[in-house]
């Protein structure tokens, strides 16, 4: 008989050789990276409402809406975008904003909704799954999302875990949903870039009976890039639209493009966006412009989109009354002062049906924009 020592040696070696690697293999594969990098194209995540709501049988138009809901922060002065000092919101604050958002959605009653800045599981918004909450508190049945900013832990400003997404919500089933990666900013140091957001487009086919190949596309372009990243995003967005158009499909597309419509009277918002202690537009200021607030170099970036497809707010309509279509402001106590949110199609909008819901001042720093879409026969 072997000595006890040898028996034990054998059993422990066996344990290390066979069992441990197996455990390691299982667990390495289940661990998520500190910050998530995305492939160029991947499948989007599907969500379903807790209860299915009935869908109208006969209809010839549907209402489409886009809304950047600012992760349920309402108009709270968040540190990242509003000269504020708040970082982590309480559950009560987030649920309060989400309720106001759901109330507005239930009032406007869009059939297809493009949402930007929806938090799925972020510390800053109390780890509330906002997409599931909105699904369960409106009449939508289906949703698909792609993450725009995903990190297990961001070691800066106490941000912690982050999962912010762009989402498409629909009364009808969504299929073939994809997340398309947009260009990454090149004007940041490597560490910041590692933990920073990765802008994306989310696409999906809306399965409306008797309507073939109707796609929804949702974009959130870069807000603060000081290089040509935002222009690349717009070009990539148009490329996706061209692809669908070229294949004979129809689309309703839009989102927060973070740039102004062609022909905007004011293109420099550095002074409006300036936080206490900041200074811009003086020869000694560095940077001379506030990041993300000077749209002057971007004046023509949307020209190709406008020339090829129908914008819900046609340029001639926008120019007659720009204020009516303003959908964003960085200042919590001010009225909307610029237009950043868009809807495009390669078919037909119902004329004069576009509404920028400027009364929705409490829910977000963006106003929702809705329009009626004529269904292709």
């Amino acid at each position: 008989m072997k000595p006890l020592y040898r028996q034990f040696l054998f059993s422990s070696s066996l344990f290390y050789a066979a069992v441990f690697p197996l455990i390691l293999l299982i667990l390495v594969s289940s661990c998520e990276p500190l910050a998530t990098d995305f492939p160029d194209i991947e499948g989007a995540h599907y969500y379903y409402a807790a209860t299915t709501h009935p869908v109208p049988d006969t209809f010839s138009v549907i209402r489409v809406m886009t809304w950047n809901i600012r992760f349920g922060a309402g108009r709270i002065p968040w540190f990242g975008d509003a000269c504020g000092d708040r970082v982590i919101l309480t559950e009560d604050e987030v649920y309060g904003s989400l309720q106001a958002i759901a109330d507005k959605i239930n009032e406007v009653k869009p059939d297809v909704l493009l949402l930007q800045e929806v938090d799925i599981n972020s510390k800053r918004s109390g780890y509330i799954d906002e997409l599931q909450w909105i699904l369960d508190n409106t009449y939508f049945n289906y949703a698909a999302y792609g993450s725009q900013w995903k990190a297990q832990f961001i070691p800066s400003d106490g941000l912690g875990r982050m999962d912010e997404a762009n989402a498409i919500l629909s009364r009808w089933k969504i299929s073939d949903a994809e997340r398309i990666q947009l260009a990454i900013r090149t004007d940041q140091d490597k560490l910041t870039r590692y933990f920073y957001e990765r802008c994306c487009i989310v696409t999906g086919r809306i399965e409306i009976p008797y309507v073939k190949n109707l796609y929804a596309l949702n974009i959130h372009a870069s807000a603060f890039a000081t290089d040509d990243t935002k222009e690349k995003h717009i070009i990539q967005f148009k490329d996706e639209l061209d692809k669908i158009n070229g294949e004979g499909g129809w689309f309703v597309a839009g989102g927060d493009m973070n740039t102004l419509p062609p022909g905007s009277d004011s293109t420099d918002y550095c002074i409006e966006d300036m936080c206490p202690g900041e200074s811009f537009h003086h020869s000694y200021d560095d940077p001379f412009h506030k990041d993300g607030s000077d749209y002057t170099p971007e004046k023509h970036w949307l020209d190709a989109l406008y020339a090829t497809y129908q914008c819900a707010v046609p340029p001639e309509v926008y120019k007659t009354n720009q204020v009516r279509y303003f959908s964003h402001t960085t200042r919590g106590t001010h009225f909307w002062d610029r237009t950043l949110d868009y809807l495009f199609t390669n078919y037909h909008w119902v004329e004069n049906s576009v509404v920028t819901h400027q009364d929705a001042t409490k829910q977000s720093d963006h106003a929702p924009v809705s329009v009626l879409f004529v269904l292709p026969k």
Binding site: Y16, V28, S156
Partner: protein
């Protein structure tokens, strides 16, 4: 300079959390019910350092972290009964300064600057029981309870939701915290051994109530027991505020033994 200091502290703190424990039958006894011999020092590069005050009384603390996040423990040996050795452990932990250091704007801010970290400390008491089921192995189990005392409100959103750190600070958010676990270690050959332990942290009054850590390591010990090196893994599971998560981390340590 401040960034460099913060970086060094971060590396030391994190490495300290990744490292632990020991081996050798007579001396390398951290995590077991055995105390180190009288007047022996163990100086860990990453782990806590220990000193044998008497044959049955051991003091442990981390010299580098002492001024920032002091954690002092006393281990008292109560003898051996029917092959089972019994000790109790009593410690105090003061994380306020360390937490305040990472409550900041910008890079390195693990806690949002909108939160105030009050003066606070925790007291931990536990017991360990060890036996030798085999000639060259020690099997230990332990259980303990920690209470925190705070001199001001601590916002429940100010948690650092990271493995290792979260369960060790959880007592300041959810009082009291229980810990229970086992440790199994032995020799393969005289200078090489292995270590396998499991630690559970149990919290009250919250859904984030269970955290588990499992460490496995291979250990080299010099013949004269003056040096020890450990390399292995640490596997963590926890019910964090964001939901259940697994983490797999490296575990390594270098320890100098004097006497």
């Amino acid at each position: 300079m401040k960034k460099l200091f913060l970086c060094l502290i971060g590396i030391v703190a994190f490495s300290n959390l990744f490292s632990q424990d020991s081996l050798r039958m007579n001396y390398w006894t951290n995590g077991t019910a055995y105390t180190i011999p009288r007047h022996r020092w163990e100086l860990g590069l990453f782990s806590t350092s220990r000193y044998g005050i008497t044959q049955n009384l051991e003091l442990s603390l981390h010299p580098l972290m002492f001024f920032l996040m002091p954690q002092v423990k006393i281990k008292v040996g109560w003898g051996e009964y029917s092959g089972f050795r019994l000790t109790t452990e009593h410690g105090i932990f003061y994380p306020t300064q360390a937490m305040r250091l990472v409550t900041r704007k910008g890079a390195g801010g693990l806690i949002s600057p909108e939160f105030t970290i009050p003066q606070m400390f925790s007291l931990h008491n536990g017991f360990l029981v060890s036996c030798k089921p085999f000639k060259n192995a020690i099997l230990s189990s332990h259980a303990g309870i920690a209470f925190s005392i705070k001199f001001g409100p601590l916002d429940k959103l100010s948690t650092i939701d990271l493995p290792i750190i979260y369960p060790r600070l959880a007592v300041f958010y959810h009082n009291p915290e229980f810990d229970v676990g086992m440790d199994f270690r032995g020799k393969i050959i005289p200078v090489f051994g292995w270590l396998f332990n499991v630690e559970n942290f149990l919290l009250c009054h919250t859904k984030q109530n269970w955290f588990l850590e499992n460490k496995g390591a291979l250990v080299y010990t010099s013949k004269k027991e003056t040096f020890r090196a450990e390399i292995g893994y640490k596997l963590c599971y926890g019910r964090y505020p964001a939901g259940p998560q697994w983490h797999l981390l490296p575990a390594l340590d270098l320890v100098l033994g004097i006497k």
